[in-house]
């Protein structure tokens, strides 16, 4: 496929002797939201952490198989180069407590020691905050601490921070599970808007959320990718019995 951003082929991941992901095959094309669903402990977090190789930070992990990001082999790239192309948003909002809102947005540049003229930085900050639908709320307090914001605002700040690096793909690990319903729906609306610019891989336990925002859904069970396809199709006529049971709340 021409438009493929992320391609996962026969991918396995291990924690010590435990095989956590089993021969996963998956392909995500440009400008879509792909949801990853499955019961707790099935390996969703592990899968997205393999995409930016964050799982390597845990000793004793190993992988086999292949992953490519826009035709480049993820596992032959320098992790640092790779992570510039892959943004990540975590479950709990986590702006850097020592940095202002402004500094948080450009943290990726600061941390990499990338020097950019002030005017351009201002521009990156404004554009990223606009993309994350936070600009209007914070444009007058850019130099206050990011930690003064509400939980939902903090999470959008984290999204802006990831977007500022202009990634090919955004990994989101249950990004709304620590937020109130209003913040959650704000962020869901945001995803639909963001799709125009970036591909998203969204881990969620919220079936309704997957239905609302995702174009494709992958169902993972005990480390196996059971089913992957257009969300609408999967939610109406799941092919696998386990998918159906999960979607109807029989387990998970």
């Amino acid at each position: 496929m021409e438009n493929t951003v992320l391609k996962v082929e026969n991918f396995c991941a291990f924690f010590g002797d435990n095989k956590i992901l089993k021969e996963v095959n998956l392909s995500v094309s440009k400008n879509v939201v792909a949801a990853l669903m499955g019961p707790s402990g099935c390996g969703k977090t592990t899968l997205i952490r393999c995409v930016n190789r964050m799982h390597e930070l845990i000793p004793g992990t190993a992988i086999s198989g292949k992953m490519t990001l826009v035709n480049e082999d993820i596992y032959t790239m320098q992790p640092i180069v790779l992570r510039r192309k892959v943004g990540m948003v975590f479950q709990k909002p986590n702006p850097f407590p020592t940095m202002s809102i402004y500094e948080n947005v450009i943290a990726g540049y600061k941390l990499n020691g990338i020097r950019i003229p002030r005017g351009e930085l201002d521009n990156i900050v404004e554009q990223s905050l606009k993309k994350a639908a936070l600009w209007e709320e914070v444009k007058d307090t850019l130099h206050r601490k990011g930690t003064f914001l509400s939980g939902g605002q903090q999470q959008r700040l984290c999204i802006a921070r990831a977007l500022a690096m202009d990634p090919e793909i955004l990994l989101l690990d249950e990004p709304t599970s620590a937020l109130d319903p209003k913040s959650t729906s704000q962020i869901e609306e945001l995803f639909v808007e963001l799709k125009k610019n970036v591909t998203m891989l969204l881990v969620t336990h919220n079936i309704a959320q997957a239905a609302r925002v995702s174009d494709f859904t992958a169902f993972i069970y005990l480390g196996e990718l059971i089913e992957f396809g257009p969300t609408e199709k999967m939610f109406t006529v799941p092919k696998d019995k386990r998918t159906e049971e999960y979607l109807t709340g029989k387990f998970g």
Binding site: K92, T147, C158, R161
Partner: protein, 278 residues
């Protein structure tokens, strides 16, 4: 029989505030005594002129300078060494027999009485390395003496930085060192500063280790190889040898005021750091 928890609460509150009050009043009494005793003897000349006749007359200028030199240089040496060790222990090693050994060493060093540091400094720096009684020998000895405090407080502060912040930093493609420098250390800064301030206090107030290594010359130390004395040492000698109780109280007052000043500045800096970093 059950006692009403409200009464227990009240009793505990009264008991604890009495203790707190007691502590504060001791501090107040000490400072008050020193102020009353020392105040008549300090003036501009006392602070800015040289001592005469063993300190019986004149001022304490060289010992003020000596105190600043000794404390400042020791801190400048001990801070990078101590913070570096703390970074190594927390970020670059996994818990092993080796780190346990280092930590045990640090803990033990922290518990050694200062006079033993003085003795070591005397044998090693003054005699063995032929430094003689000198600012340098004093600085090196005090550096070793305050190092454990700086290592311990820095290590605690660094460990208290949430792991999540490091993970976010890596996910933004930062290297390990950039993460430490720009995420971990800033977040740990208030704690690290606390350790540094405690150490300055120790260096300023130290006598035993200083007399053995820096000596007690009344002259102004102009080079690292010159002997000199700090205010604490000056006070000790004036009082101990009965040279002049008036000058001793004057010195004590300047010393106490300097320590209060350091604490106030430290408090201010720390609040700034905390406001900035948390």
């Amino acid at each position: 029989m059950r006692v009403n928890p409200r009464i227990i609460n009240q009793a505990v509150r009264v008991g604890l505030s009495a203790q707190a009050l007691f502590t504060v009043s001791i501090l107040v009494v000490i400072v008050a005594i020193i102020c009353v005793k020392g105040f008549p003897y300090i003036d501009f000349a006392f602070i800015f002129s040289f001592p005469e006749d063993m300190g019986r007359h004149g001022g304490i200028f060289p010992s003020i300078v000596g105190t600043i030199q000794l404390a400042l240089l020791s801190i400048l040496l001990a801070t990078p060494l101590g913070v570096g060790t703390a970074i190594f222990l927390t970020e670059y090693t996994r818990e092993s027999a080796f780190t346990k050994l280092i930590r045990f060493g640090v803990e033990s060093l922290a518990g050694i009485p200062s006079i033993l540091y003085g003795l070591f400094g005397f044998i090693f720096f003054v005699i063995k390395l032929k430094m003689g009684w000198s600012l340098l020998a004093g600085v090196l000895t005090l550096t070793i003496m305050i190092l454990p405090t700086i290592i311990r407080t820095s290590e605690e502060a660094i460990r208290a930085v949430p792991r999540q912040l490091r993970i976010v930093s890596y996910s933004l493609s930062a290297s390990k060192w950039e993460t430490i420098k720009k995420v971990v250390l800033p977040a740990a800064m208030p704690g690290i500063l606390t350790g540094i301030m405690l150490s300055i206090g120790r260096a300023v107030g130290e006598t035993a280790a200083v007399i053995f290594t820096m000596g007690s010359s009344l002259r102004l130390p102009l080079s690292l190889m010159d002997s000199g004395r700090t205010m604490a040492v000056h006070f000790y000698i004036l009082a101990r040898e009965g040279i002049s109780m008036e000058k001793a109280y004057g010195t004590a007052l300047v010393l106490v005021l300097s320590i209060l000043l350091i604490n106030v500045v430290a408090y201010y800096l720390m609040n700034k750091a905390i406001a900035r970093y948390s």
